[in-house]
């Protein structure tokens, strides 16, 4: 009793305590991609080591893949070289590879859940900070660096210090036009971009458990933007329903066994936490970032803060942010003109995100001068969207419809901002230079808000634009 999921799952995977005082933790699922893995394989080979559990290792390509034409060889020689490296490494070590030749290529944090690989109670590691996404299932996902990828490849374990656990209790219900993205942007704005250092975040409460799995993934995904390496939601019936029938999910009697196990690991009602933070979803409005960290977010109704009203420790970054963005103190965020609208990323590139954006876009036109494009998070998302006629809706409005990948979330492929362009983006980071131009500017918001901005050409309140909340098909 009084156990929280994090500690239960940690203990179940703890191999031993090392001399350093860290725990050696077994990793149940290792996901790899083309950007952070080649050096790890190289280190492995230099030491004459093998991949210990290729059966628990899965690979895809997402960061560098072009989205306009995915024909091989890629025009970008360096991207092609990385592509060949992951093909070679996965083949040599017998690792299942969901490459461009399969129907399951996509952003690593989107395909894991889609394939049923991501399950409650697992420890999951990936050389990408947004691995926290998988926590939506009641798994513990760790973003790791390349040396740790080497460790996991060689030993299926890694050395970690146990973090504290903060429960974030979100009461009430989201109002129409307000989304999971707004919950997490508000949490980061309140607790700060470094507030989660040393913590795992457990998202709990009525508002969280009313969310779909895809919405829960959006929230867990951005835990790292609040400094928390791990974020998770206790598994419930919504979780089990999502997993059932997926390719790698247990089936038949094994599924029933699994559900019993999954239920057993959820935090007890009277579980103890190192800290608790409360938020009321009823009070939330659509959020937009105005600066250069994901914590610099305000309600669309609000004005950019004045430096004077900010706490001392936030002032310096805020000053830098205003200078970079070309914004002034006390200006409303609403009405800020945009040049680019980007719908996609591991935060908001799933089918429900595209459906919601399509609902806003349907029958409208992208504002003159705005470059708008949709990058589905995975091939499966793309295939499903085609079944529902979403590409036509976006194309008719003037959006480009692209192939699956990370795209302009981090601009390692040809999709980039130019010069001082400003984007409305459904991604996760508004860091200086993040979207490919050192002078480029990013406004983070929900996919529906990105759609609204694309149509009006400026930051707008989607609640004033949204048609009645019915599905498009």
């Amino acid at each position: 009793m009084k156990r929280n999921l994090f500690n239960t799952v940690w203990d179940m995977h703890k191999v031993t305590t090392l001399d350093s005082g860290q725990d050696q933790l077994f990793i149940g699922l290792h996901l790899i991609h083309e950007v952070t893995s080649p050096q790890a394989f190289q280190m492995l080979e230099e030491r004459g080591l093998k991949v210990l559990r290729p059966d628990r290792t899965f690979a895809t390509v997402d960061h560098i893949v072009p989205t306009a034409s995915q024909e091989r060889p890629f025009k970008d020689r360096l991207a092609e070289e990385m592509m060949q490296a992951i093909e070679r490494n996965t083949e040599k070590h017998g690792i299942e590879f969901f490459g461009l030749h399969t129907d399951h290529q996509g952003i690593v944090h989107i395909i894991g859940p889609e394939l049923g690989l991501t399950q409650p109670g697992m420890t999951i590691a990936c050389g990408d900070s947004h691995t926290s996404t998988h926590g939506a299932f009641g798994a513990i996902g760790f973003g790791i660096g390349t040396s740790q990828i080497r460790d996991v490849l060689a030993t299926q374990t890694m050395a970690l210090s146990r973090p504290k656990v903060r429960k974030i209790d979100v009461s009430g219900r989201l109002r129409p036009g307000v989304y999971a993205k707004d919950i997490i942007l508000k949490i980061i704005a309140e607790l700060g971009v470094n507030g989660g250092i040393g913590y795992a975040y457990e998202y709990n409460g009525e508002a969280i458990h009313a969310l779909s799995m895809e919405e829960r993934m959006t929230i867990c995904n951005m835990s790292i933007e609040g400094g928390a390496r791990v974020g998770y939601v206790n598994p419930d019936q919504t979780t089990f329903d999502y997993i059932e029938g997926r390719q790698y999910a247990p089936a038949g009697e094994a599924f029933d066994e699994a559900v019993t196990f999954w239920k057993s690991i959820a935090s007890d009602a009277d579980a103890e936490y190192d800290d608790v933070f409360n938020l009321d979803a009823d009070q939330l409005a659509p959020m937009v970032t105005w600066g250069i960290t994901p914590g610099q977010a305000i309600s669309v109704e609000d004005r950019i803060p004045s430096l004077r009203e900010l706490p001392d420790e936030q002032r310096e970054t805020a000053e830098k942010a205003l200078a970079h963005m070309g914004f002034a103190e006390r200006e409303p965020i609403r009405g800020k003109k945009i040049d680019v609208a980007f719908l996609g990323s591991c935060t908001n590139g799933r089918i429900s995100d595209l459906r919601e954006a399509a609902r806003i876009v349907k029958g409208q036109k992208v504002a003159k001068g705005v470059r708008a494009f949709v990058v589905p998070g995975s091939k499966q998302v793309s295939i499903q969207a085609e079944r529902e006629g979403l590409p036509e809706i976006f194309r008719e409005a003037g959006f480009d419809w692209r192939g699956a990948g990370c795209s302009m979330c981090l601009a390692m492929n040809p999709d980039k901002l130019n010069d001082r362009e400003i984007s409305a983006s459904s991604s996760n980071r508004n860091f200086v230079g993040r979207q490919g131009s050192p002078m480029g500017r990013t406004l983070l918001m929900s996919p529906a808000m990105v759609a609204a901005a694309a149509i009006t050409g400026e930051v707008s309140d989607v609640r004033e634009l949204a048609p009645s909340p019915e599905p498009v098909v």
Partner: protein, 205 residues
């Protein structure tokens, strides 16, 4: 297997100040320089967009400042290395000559990556960091010395006690910061643990 065991208990040298909070890994190494299959050569791209214009002209930045040339210790402020898990960031710093980082706080993954590469990331309070930064700015030849066994940093003739996750400190001192061989030595325990994890057997009982 080739075992890498190299104790790191002391780093000494001049320092460079990279001031500012929330300096993210995209600023330390912009994503476009990560299209490489090895870490070699990343050093020249450290802080690239802060150091160079798009035309390749130098901008004022401590890493371009001759006064700090040859520095092996970097002094930073709060939440340094936030954002992406890319080890390319500390790799770029290390390959440009940085052997230790001293700051108010570090993002968790960044600090872990530093340790895994044998680069100590040590923590001092805000006031102390500002004091040290001022001193280095006014005299870049000031010698700093980070001593892990005593948890102290000496700046000129002033000594401060720093903070650091004990596991990182002891791994560096013991030379176990490259953790693969330590983890692999427990291979029997790994198998034993795996046999008790229900999903690994497909819930077959």
């Amino acid at each position: 297997m080739q075992e890498i065991k190299h104790a790191i208990s002391h780093v000494e040298g001049t320092a460079v100040v990279v001031a500012g909070n929330d300096i993210d890994t995209d600023q330390i190494i912009p994503a476009r320089f990560m299209k490489v299959v090895t870490f070699d050569g990343l050093g020249e791209y450290a802080f690239y967009d802060l150091r160079f214009t798009e035309g390749g002209e130098q901008k004022p930045h401590p890493f371009n400042d001759e006064r700090f040339a040859g520095a092996s210790i970097m002094v930073v402020n709060r939440n340094f290395g936030c954002g992406s898990s890319r080890e390319h960031a500390p790799q770029a710093l290390m390959r440009s000559g940085i052997k230790a980082v001293v700051g108010e706080s570090f993002a968790e993954i960044f600090a872990g990556n530093c340790t895994a590469m044998g680069v100590p990331a040590v923590i001092l309070p805000h006031e102390t960091i500002v004091e040290i930064q001022k001193r280095i700015e006014s005299d870049p030849s000031t010698m700093l010395s980070v001593d892990l066994p005593s948890s102290t940093i000496t700046v000129g003739d002033t000594e401060y006690t720093f903070d650091m996750p004990p596991a990182y400190r002891s791994a560096l001192i013991a030379g176990n910061w490259d953790s693969t061989s330590v983890l692999l030595s427990n291979v029997g325990l790994i198998e034993e643990r795996a046999s008790h994890i229900p999903y690994l057997s497909g819930f077959a009982g």
